[in-house]
């Protein structure tokens, strides 16, 4: 936790002598496909989560989570061997702030994150959870895969996104990275 006694921020609410529980958020988003994310990211990193710190935001009015990633590889850009980024929400004391659509991270999990930044601020994940892909080992131990299934750009034609499409499955990590590098380099 950083800064002076952030609990005072909630004084007004607690004055009501009501136990304050989780704060919950919900969102309306603009969707992004893998091409949008690859183009818009200032950095795309694959790595392992090594730290998750929940803290009060600088405005003292909201809870945020700073996530530290030990980077294995950059697919675009470069922010050093470890990179820290911020996501909204988190659990601090008896307060829990949840942003529907915002990603949550656990130490030791492997992820690919698409990061944005504006000015001096801590990098953030593009499109909330749209900019996070989880890396997990296949059930048969045959290799690493990326979930959720990525929505690839439509290659110059408009196509319906069909639920249950047998072709939309978790992508092998190597294929995913090859695709992202190409998209980041300008391919659509």
């Amino acid at each position: 936790m950083h800064g002076p006694n952030p609990r005072s921020v909630f004084a007004a609410a607690i004055v009501a002598a009501i136990l304050v529980g989780p704060a919950v958020h919900a969102t309306v988003v603009l969707p992004a496909d893998l091409g949008d994310l690859s183009r818009d990211a200032i950095a795309i990193a694959r790595g392992q989560v090594v730290d998750v710190e929940v803290r009060w935001a600088d405005d003292r009015h909201s809870i945020v989570t700073d996530v530290t990633l030990a980077v294995e590889s950059y697919l675009k850009g470069g922010l050093g061997p470890t990179v820290q980024f911020r996501v909204p929400g988190g659990e601090l004391g008896r307060l829990r702030s949840i942003v529907v659509g915002a990603p949550e991270f656990a130490i030791e999990e492997r992820v690919v994150v698409f990061l944005g930044a504006r000015g001096p601020m801590v990098p953030y994940v593009l499109g909330l959870s749209q900019g996070v892909f989880r890396v997990s080992r296949a059930a048969d131990n045959s290799g690493w895969f990326v979930t959720p299934p990525a929505l690839l750009p439509s290659a110059g034609r408009t196509v319906a996104v069909v639920r249950g499409d047998v072709n939309r499955r978790p992508m092998a990590l190597a294929d995913f990275e090859r695709t992202v590098r190409a998209l980041a380099a300008g391919a659509r």
Partner: protein, 338 residues
């Protein structure tokens, strides 16, 4: 043909052919909060819900009075649902800023350029002992261009449509998976149709298609705040979904009424793969089960839940009759992996 009718026709055809892979769906989820060892629905304990409008809430083309009027229309639409007791009261203009936990439910514009793909967001303060809402704020991201024009404006997002969605959240409804999207030839993804206001992806700027509540929204708000003889006049459909004999979590289950041409849906929400869809009109229903493999799963479920998206769209092999004021009895749908 209206969009709803087109959607309905699509799913009927798919059912008949037993091979279609795409049809719009209708669903609702409720927010839940843990109170002690219990998980309960997040809802207002006292009605009407009193809200305030931030007195600095304006952007180019939208004055404070315009903002107040637009959100007022959205509140009125939810309140007009005849089978729901939900009610709201405008408390006046206020200096309260959305997102500040001050005991005042406030709506207004806030500039959040770092949330470059988030149009609006709702936040809650919750009494952790009872689970009742104390306060709920809605911010609209002024980093985007907004409109309150009756017919919408090119390049600007419709404030009333987005407010209608967020007020659903403010009332306790979660996201719905009831929408259909496409990847555009020139890049990006857009909503083609959404049969629930609570679908998490916005229509494109300039569109006012999201200004009207759908059957799924009505079922959801009526389930949360029932009024009249909602329980007696409507019914439910319940069952479970399995794959290779094992329960499936997070499957999207849709109940389509071919008589009313309406659909309501829910998800399998237990470790046993069980689902219940409430607020259904009595009579026969077509049941369709689909994976949300095109969605940002984390906008529906928290990451601790392993949502299964590796299965094919499946229809139950016969119509299911929903009784008036009762439940269908357990329907089991076995899906096959892709």
């Amino acid at each position: 043909m209206t969009r709803r009718r087109r959607c309905a026709a699509a799913i009927v055809t798919a059912a008949a052919l037993v091979l279609a892979q795409s049809a719009p769906a209708f669903a609702y989820l409720k927010f839940g909060v843990r109170v002690g060892s219990r998980q309960i629905a997040l809802k207002w304990a006292q009605l009407p819900v009193r809200y305030f409008v931030n007195d600095q809430s304006s952007v180019p083309g939208v004055a404070v009075s315009d903002f107040q009027a637009a959100v007022g229309r959205a509140f009125a639409q939810w309140q007009a649902v005849p089978t729901s007791a939900i009610a709201y009261q405008f408390g006046g203009l206020s200096a309260a800023v959305p997102g500040q936990d001050d005991g005042t439910s406030a709506l207004g514009f806030v500039n959040k350029p770092e949330l470059e793909r988030v149009l609006a967001s709702t936040s809650f303060l919750v009494d952790s002992q009872s689970g009742a809402l104390i306060e709920s704020d809605i911010f609209f991201n002024s980093a985007f261009a907004w409109s309150v024009a009756a017919a919408g404006e090119t390049g600007k997002f419709d404030l009333e449509s987005i407010a209608l969605h967020e007020i659903g959240h403010l009332s306790g409804l979660g996201h719905s998976a009831l929408g259909e999207t496409e990847l555009r030839a020139d890049g990006g993804r857009r909503v083609v149709a959404a049969e629930a206001v609570m679908f998490p992806i916005a229509f494109a700027s300039g569109s006012i298609a999201g200004r009207t509540l759908k059957a799924d929204d009505v079922a959801g708000i009526s389930d949360l705040y029932p009024d009249g003889n909602f329980a007696g006049d409507f019914g439910s459909l319940s069952g479970r979904v399995t794959k290779d004999g094992q329960p499936v979590f997070g499957a999207h289950v849709i109940a389509f009424d071919p008589n009313t041409k309406t659909m309501v849906a829910n998800f399998t929400l237990t470790t046993q793969g069980e689902f219940t869809i409430g607020g259904l009109s009595p009579g026969p229903h077509i049941v369709r089960v689909e994976p949300i493999d095109d969605a940002d799963v984390e906008s529906f479920f928290d990451t601790s839940r392993q949502v299964d998206v590796d299965f094919k769209v499946t229809f139950h092999d016969h119509l299911v009759v929903v009784p008036r004021g009762g439940d269908s009895g357990v329907v089991t749908v076995a899906v096959a992996r892709k």
